[in-house]
Symmetry: C2
Subunit: 332 residues, 2 copies
DNA sequence: TTGAAAGCGTTACCAC
DNA sequence: GTGGTAACGCTTTCAA
């Protein structure tokens, strides 16, 4: 029964609401015995401050918001979880607002949070144009952009260096002596696939290797997409012994199709995924992949969003994916 | 810049705040032209109602809360996602509050939500005692309990019939002519493992089969737990051709160990999991499992929590797990 | 050390 | 149709 208000406590304690407010907020200048008496009343009467009233007068809420496309996707669930941990440590409530991957709904998700007077928001947005975001960030000093880099607001971006990821995959394939190399990419119209591919190609080039255009296929970044892409690859009738795949889900789809066609992974073909989601440790063979350190990225984003004064001169926060070698790759 | 208040709009439009409030809330009795003029001002001045002020006077917030142990766990992520979908449809903000699996932190998560004046809360709690929950639900008519059944508040419970799940597994093993049967269960001190096992044993009995006590092992409900449990099983030196496993993660661990020891699934041993999480479709062999319809359960829970008048005479909401046959089982 | 009172931005009731 | 105004529960000067 959280019906008791600050007035009820004040009345019961024979003091003014001001005094009660002081003890609730650990304010100074309250007599030891009054404080104790009030505290007692608070717990026996089960008083809980009304956060709405507080937010109203303070003109801000003790909340942190996060905008993601979807809670069910393991990747975004991990992102939300990282933020949640920081939120708990700082005793602020987590507000999750989902927008599909469309500029409009991403924007809607953000305004919804702003209406709650939520000041600190970690935003994952692939579709809102740069300029819109820049304007938004200028008005809202506690917004943080995750998984995306925009020059003008770089000190409030937490992003992954996709190029390096591609490069590391290329380096590893080269080290393993592969030379007939394929790539399965995402067909989504966002930057990440392009960057990963570019990095991969540059890495290959640095080892004197090249990627045959016929061996680049695109599909939706899912298990089914991976299965589809692998079939397309096989149709090319062009030999390959290694594939760099856009993400782990696709990679598992690719492997599944390959094995159905009698090709063994890693004996006949090596596969590298991307993200290192839970899945990759459960699959057989366990997936060699590039770890997306989403947990620490999320935590840092939350910390940044919560910190009162965002330091514009802070070092920029680019993260590098780490190669995790498991069982889906092998030397030729 | 969401600085404009209702007063600013009123002033600019030369009307009273009351009138502005009416158009904001689509209230009746506003002149067509005044309404239009005000609407124009609202959008040009970028006015957004302060939700805290609104909640304060309305004594309730347009939010729905959910209490789960963890956002990162795919099962709970799916639960949260179902609720989120209903929340979006009803234009209410989703509040997620995580408590580990402990009575204390589950309780903390609930009070945190109540402080926000969140009335509708979907609670997943395994540890808070029945009586506490009953008292809580009596004071809060819009709470809903998910994944647990308590007689006294049964019309506000949405739960899965674990017994039937166990029974269906038993039926299927019997149909497949298995008779040397094992069980890998969770060692967590909650009801679900007991219920699933009881249902399984009853099902077996109805087919004249029995479960050798030596072939029941307990471990943590995770991949590693499954691996461990399978090793324990093998040590018994008691033959078995089928295993009923507590959940999919464990089942994948079990399969992994089995195959490492040279036993093929399903050729040498059939495995049935529980939950039908994403994982089970990605594993090889794809898992035969009992589907936990968490998505529809979550949606119904959300609907129930949001509905103004919870009907105490409503039919109780027990769900049955459905057997999903894939590749990890086969007839003897 | 304590109290009185002025807001914070809304909604809703009652006049006009 | 429209306006005035009292709440809602809290924090924070300013006085005492």
């Amino acid at each position: 029964m959280s019906k008791a208000t600050i007035k009820d406590i004040a009345r019961a304690a024979n003091v003014s609401v001001a005094t009660v407010s002081r003890v609730v907020n650990n304010g100074p200048k309250v007599g030891a015995k009054t404080r104790e008496r009030i505290q007692h009343l608070i717990s026996t009467m089960g008083y809980q401050p009304n956060i709405n009233a507080r937010s109203l007068v303070m003109k801000k809420a003790a909340t942190i918001g996060v905008v993601i496309p979807d809670v069910a996707d393991p990747f975004f669930a991990a992102l939300a979880n990282g933020i949640d941990q920081i939120a708990r440590e700082n005793k602020v409530q987590l507000l999750i607002s989902t927008g599909q991957v469309s500029a409009e709904s991403e924007m809607k998700a953000i305004t919804s949070l702003m209406q709650q007077r939520c000041e600190s928001i970690v935003i994952h947005s692939k579709k809102i144009p740069d300029e819109t975001l820049i304007a938004l960030f200028n008005d809202n000093p506690k917004f943080v952009l995750i998984d995306r880099y925009i020059e003008a607001i770089s000190h409030r971006c937490i992003w992954l260096d996709n190029h390096i990821g591609g490069q590391k995959a290329a380096d590893y394939f080269s080290e393993l002596n592969h030379s007939n190399i394929a790539c399965v990419n995402s067909n989504l119209d966002i930057d990440d696939p392009k960057e990963r591919l570019a990095g991969f190609q540059r890495g290959l080039a640095s080892h004197g290797l090249t990627l045959n255009d016929k061996l680049i296929t695109y599909a939706s970044p899912s298990l089914q997409g991976g299965e589809q892409a692998a079939q397309d690859l096989l149709k090319q009738n062009t030999p390959f012994s290694a594939i760099f795949v856009y993400n782990d889900a696709m990679a598992i789809g690719v492997i599944s199709t390959l094995e159905d066609k009698g090709l063994s992974v890693p004996n006949d073909v090596s596969v590298i995924g991307f993200d290192d989601v839970l899945l990759s440790r459960y699959s057989r063979p366990k997936l060699t992949t590039l770890r997306y350190p989403i947990d620490s990225m999320a935590k840092n984003a939350a910390l940044l969003a919560l910190s009162a004064n965002i330091n514009p001169t802070a070092q920029s926060s680019s993260y590098s994916p780490e190669l995790v070698i498991r069982e889906s790759t092998q030397a030729l």
